[in-house]
């Protein structure tokens, strides 16, 4: 598989695996120095906001604590479309820009609603074992998320 295809597959896989709530599988896609963020710009206060920020250990503990919380159990579906892949061979790194839509489906009746839209800004490291996620910035356009959700996008 060529590098570009492998990177594209990694990004799509990261969404599918989260949809399955296979959190261990997700962490396996991440490099040890992984950094995850959810950010948004608020036109109301004219500021960039960081809504969630974790390193790999932080993500792991977030996942491990999920079952302890009272949460909306509706499944969500991340639709990711990889748009731009910039490969820097010398740095063994790639920058990837994707669009993401998140849909939520109710357990009772299965009604699906659009939950959020935004972009993913990913950095991917290209090692011998194939590409791995080094950082992800989930940049949300949607800021009105109703009663919210515990699982990151």
């Amino acid at each position: 598989m060529d590098t570009r295809t492998a990177i594209t597959e990694l990004i799509h896989r990261s969404g599918l695996i989260m949809d399955e709530r296979d959190f261990k599988g997700y962490l396996d896609l991440c490099a040890p120095d992984y950094q995850y963020r959810i950010t948004a710009y608020s036109p109301e206060i004219r500021k960039d906001m960081t809504w969630l920020e974790h390193d790999k250990a932080g993500m792991k503990s977030l996942f491990e604590n999920l079952h302890r919380h009272n949460s909306d159990k509706s499944p969500i579906s991340r639709h990711i479309n990889v748009c731009l892949v910039d490969i820097d061979e010398s740095a063994e790194e790639a920058s990837v820009t994707s669009t993401i839509e998140v849909f939520r489906t109710t357990l009772d009746g299965g009604e699906t609603e659009l939950f959020a839209v935004g972009k993913l800004y990913d950095k991917v490291t290209l090692g011998h074992d194939g590409p791995a996620l080094r950082s992800r910035n989930v940049r949300l356009d949607t800021r009105l998320l109703g009663y919210g959700y515990h699982i990151p996008f």
């Binding site: 206060i45 960081t50 809504w51 920020e53 009272n70 998320l145 919210g148 959700y149 515990h150």
Partner: protein, 401 residues
């Protein structure tokens, strides 16, 4: 034992102050009454001064009593508020939530206004109105505005209202010393939930629901001082929760643990509920402000703000943002649970579900799990509404006769 239809509806065996009739959460006529008698009479937070730092900066706000508002800073740096309604044919004057407008010009027929609410131009005014009508007749409707209590911009659409300071009284006493430095909003988001605004304010007025939050339940409740926290009720329906016992001095040595907050002990927590739907929540390193804006009896918009010190270094600010969002951000541990709670109440108590009573009966010497904070709110609600929260349609008195 489960109960049959008659038993389910029987008035709870508590004093009348200790339960409410759920129709106060569902009925349209009660909601309209609340807009008139509560929201259009009380001081409401419209925004924070840091959101409009420069002359001519403005911010729009949907007042819970109904009117859309413009909060704008004048050339003299004074903050004033006006209806966001053009006096000509009723158009919205400013469409964006925030901006800078030296001159407010309506897009429809180009009437213009300044930041003090004067009409300064009517296009082809003389030709159309001759001497019958002019700028002097077309000023914007001004709304009373005061800044205070952490730099928030408060508005009151009642021209006859008391001052903000009279309205708050002593209620902010526990926070006064923590709010003397300029603050800055770093977080803002809204949530719309199908529930009644009072249920959200109730959640902010009782800590018994720490049972809903895993870490509050497992670690919070065993912290020294947890059960020493007390509710204090103040005139006009405000209430505070906090511990007078935990003082910063006792923790002097542990200052280095985090960025903290001026005068607040690590682990300290002060919460002040301002009637009818605003909550100051100061914890660790962050001040959170909730503003409840009802859109209907069973539809609520909440504005969430996170604030730090204006003097923060980037590192300090980043730490406050992390502290805030881990618990209270849109993906935070507690916020989703709190919102899920009131969403569930809205689901169970919407019209015609045959819900009947909500019980506020816990008495624990006004300590943390006492439900006195909510009782205090409903006493004020009943006074302002001229309706009893336990009997909003005056049926119990009739039944006795």
């Amino acid at each position: 034992m489960s109960r049959n239809a008659v038993e389910w509806k029987q008035t709870p065996s508590f004093p009348e102050s200790h339960y409410v009739d759920t129709r106060i959460y569902t009925e349209e006529d009660i909601f309209l009454d609340e807009q008139r008698k509560i929201f259009n009479k009380c001081w409401i937070i419209a925004c924070h001064e840091s959101e409009i730092p420069n002359a001519y900066d403005y911010r729009t706000f949907s007042h819970p009593g109904g009117p859309p508002l413009i909060v704008i800073r004048g050339e003299d740096m004074k903050v004033r508020t006006f209806y966001n309604i053009c006096p000509h044919r009723g158009n919205t004057l400013l469409y964006e939530p925030v901006g800078n407008a030296k001159r407010i010009t309506c897009i429809f027929h180009a009437w213009s206004f300044n930041a003090t609410g004067d009409c300064i131009d009517i296009s082809r005014g003389k030709e159309g109105y001759q001497d019958r009508f002019g700028c002097k007749d077309a000023g914007l409707r001004e709304v009373k505005t005061e800044l205070g209590f952490g730099g928030f911009v408060w508005v009151n659409v009642d021209d006859e209202s008391c001052t903000l300071r009279e309205y708050i009284g002593e209620a902010m006493g526990m926070l006064d010393e923590h709010l003397d430095q300029p603050l800055e909003v770093f977080h803002y988001h809204k949530a719309v939930v199908n529930t009644n605004y009072k249920l959200w304010h109730d959640t902010n007025s009782e800590f018994y629901h720490d049972y809903m939050h895993y870490f509050n339940r497992i670690t919070g409740m065993i912290q020294p001082g947890y059960f020493d926290r007390k509710y204090t009720g103040y005139p006009n329906g405000h209430a505070s929760v906090g511990s007078m016992a935990i003082k910063y001095d006792a923790y002097e040595g542990s200052k280095a643990r985090g960025v903290g907050w001026p005068g607040l002990a690590p682990g300290g927590w002060v919460l002040i509920d301002i009637f009818p739907g605003m909550t100051y929540n100061l914890r660790t390193s962050v001040l959170r402000m909730d503003t409840a804006i009802p859109l209907g009896p069973n539809k609520l918009l909440i504005e969430f703000r996170g604030l730090g010190l204006k003097s923060d270094t980037p590192e300090q600010r980043a730490e406050r943002i992390r502290d805030h969002n881990m618990i209270w951000g849109p993906f935070g541990r507690n916020l989703h649970e709190d919102l899920l709670g009131v969403h569930g109440q809205g689901l169970a108590m919407r019209e015609r579900t045959d819900s009947r009573w909500v019980i506020h009966g816990r008495e624990e010497n006004m300590t943390i799990h006492d439900e006195g904070g909510m009782r205090h709110f409903y006493a004020e609600w009943s006074r302002r509404m001229g309706r009893k929260a336990y009997d909003p349609y005056g049926e119990q008195a009739v039944a006795v006769k």
